[in-house]
Symmetry: C2
Subunit: 338 residues, 2 copies
């Protein structure tokens, strides 16, 4: 009896057949009270626990979901993953975690291993490529839920936020304060969240009779270092911006670092608003005005929508549900009038 005890071990001990033991432990079929007690006792005695692998091979259900996101290290994603995890635990699901770093070749590799592992479903924040792979997967019957972004034409629920409105609200706030030279540090061009936030920015400028000026539009690829450099470039401009809108948390870090090094005072010399509302936004000097996303809730919702598809397989790849949540502007002290 090297490894873990099996159903046969329990059966032998209880003096019944393996099939019988399986029935009472899995409680299906029918059996007498007497055998029930014998089997239960035997199971407890040998500390039996079912072999999930064997069960999965038979049932084709693993009670495991894949979670494929850009980077667990950022506030938005840790919080969202925690939401998924909490819901998953409640329902006896395990999650296997993968970080794509926004690289589609990483994503593709993970996608492959996840499929090979026969996950019951996938929660993914997709990069720009692999859309056809996902479409095949979804049509093939694997439940998929998109978070943070969606893929036009893919019939899978997507849980996201109204990025355009959130960005517009932030920039409107800046304009109302009298700013006319408002810069933006974007994420990755082509990525929905980045494009939409830019669209919101442009819209708000337009509504305030301001123009989008190419020199004030920077690309930060959602990365701290890129945003650091972008901020430095902005500050070297002849007509430097009086306000900056950064499109996520890591870039907010980079931006603040550059601002600090420049010696400019915030908000007297320059105003800043960031998308995402990490815990630390409250403690910075000055406290940061932010656009907050309900990331924990998004995670819970994502799992719930996935579970719905898993439970009712007929739904997988059939229903397109779009959950678009609202952001909230949290006004702190990083913006001043001009």
């Amino acid at each position: 009896m090297a490894g873990r005890p099996t159903l046969r071990d329990v059966a032998r001990r209880a003096g019944v057949s393996a099939g019988m033991a399986g029935r009472v432990l899995g409680n299906y079929g029918s059996y007498s009270e007497a055998t029930r007690r014998k089997v239960k006792a035997a199971a407890k005695a040998v500390q039996y626990s079912p072999n999930v692998i064997a069960r999965a091979l038979k049932t084709r259900l693993t009670r495991t979901v894949g979670v494929l996101i850009p980077d667990i290290t950022t506030f938005f994603w840790t919080t969202l993953v925690r939401g998924i995890q909490d819901r998953a635990a409640r329902d006896g699901f395990s999650i296997v975690l993968c970080n794509s770093d926004e690289e589609s070749h990483n994503e593709k590799a993970y996608l492959r291993t996840l499929v090979e592992r026969s996950i019951d479903g996938l929660i993914i924040c997709p990069t720009l490529d692999n859309h056809s792979f996902l479409a095949r997967l979804s049509r093939g019957g694997t439940p998929v839920v998109l978070v943070d972004r969606h893929i036009p034409g893919l019939r899978a629920p997507s849980i996201r936020v109204d990025n355009r409105a959130g960005a517009a609200e932030a920039v409107t706030h800046l304009a109302a304060l009298g700013h006319t030279r408002i810069a933006i540090i974007k994420g990755i061009d082509g990525v929905e969240t980045s494009d939409e936030r830019f669209a919101g920015y442009a819209q708000a400028l337009r509504e305030n009779r301001l123009r989008v000026r190419a020199t004030l539009v920077k690309d930060g690829r959602f990365l701290k270092d890129r945003a650091f450099a972008a901020t430095q470039e902005l500050l070297m401009l002849k007509e430097r911006p009086s306000a900056i809108f950064v499109c996520n948390e890591p870039m907010a870090s980079g931006c603040m670092l550059a601002l600090k090094e420049s010696g400019l005072r915030m908000p007297q010399d320059i105003s800043l608003i960031a998308f995402d509302d990490p815990v630390w936004a409250e403690y910075t000097s000055p406290p940061l005005t932010t656009v907050s996303q309900p990331s924990y809730t998004m995670g819970m919702l994502a799992f719930d929508y996935l579970l719905a598809q898993i439970t009712d397989r007929t739904k997988a790849g059939k229903y397109l549900e779009e959950v678009v949540l609202k952001t909230t502007l949290i006004v702190r002290e990083s913006c001043a009038g001009v």
Copy 2:
């Protein structure tokens, strides 16, 4: 041919036996160049990928490791998990993530599901209980690596930091600045990291001819809210502390919040040092002096030590390797002389 293509599908298409197909695809045994080509071609044609579940049932190897930590939401743990994940991906391992919230009943439940899932190994930051469960697991041949804490008597490698020295360095820094009323906000009594940090605190006080005063020792349970309350209590003391040492990042948040509400100026009125060095420590007002742990490295090491045991099963539960890394005091601006 509903589901994924199987070895038999490939074999049929290539005109060979299933066993043969298995050999070339798994490249073991021997086969002719001709069949190799036929099988490879067939596999590509039907987009064959092995069924990991079936393989796991046979080989008893899942290429999956469990990661059981207190809370993915805190900086220390996200970073450490990222380290694990990166190494795991490199070696084709998946990780399944669980958050115990420091509750041993959660931990126990997760532990059970993890073993049921036949993980190849476990990286865990153990709570106070379940030690015997872990001992059984380890003796039973499941590779285990402890992170952040260790369990006396358990023959499993542990990757941690010299908490005592780190804390002592911080408190010595405070004492050197002339502080005599130095408070500490501890984590959870009985948990190694908390106890050791407290020991370092006490040691540093002693070395500076200061006494540990019960009124200045608070319990924060590693939680933000608790630390918030603890800080308020400290500030209401007749002889309030001139400096506070908090034992982790979430508690640093709570503490700063209370400080801010109190209207006290930092560092003029009160000094603060925190264990853990989150990205935002740089941006607070004033920037926070911290004790930094190499958490990303710890994650990578943890996986490497686990993999070593997995690869050489004879090592599992046999060798006790203690990796104790150094912390570094990062002096910023949250501490002043009295």
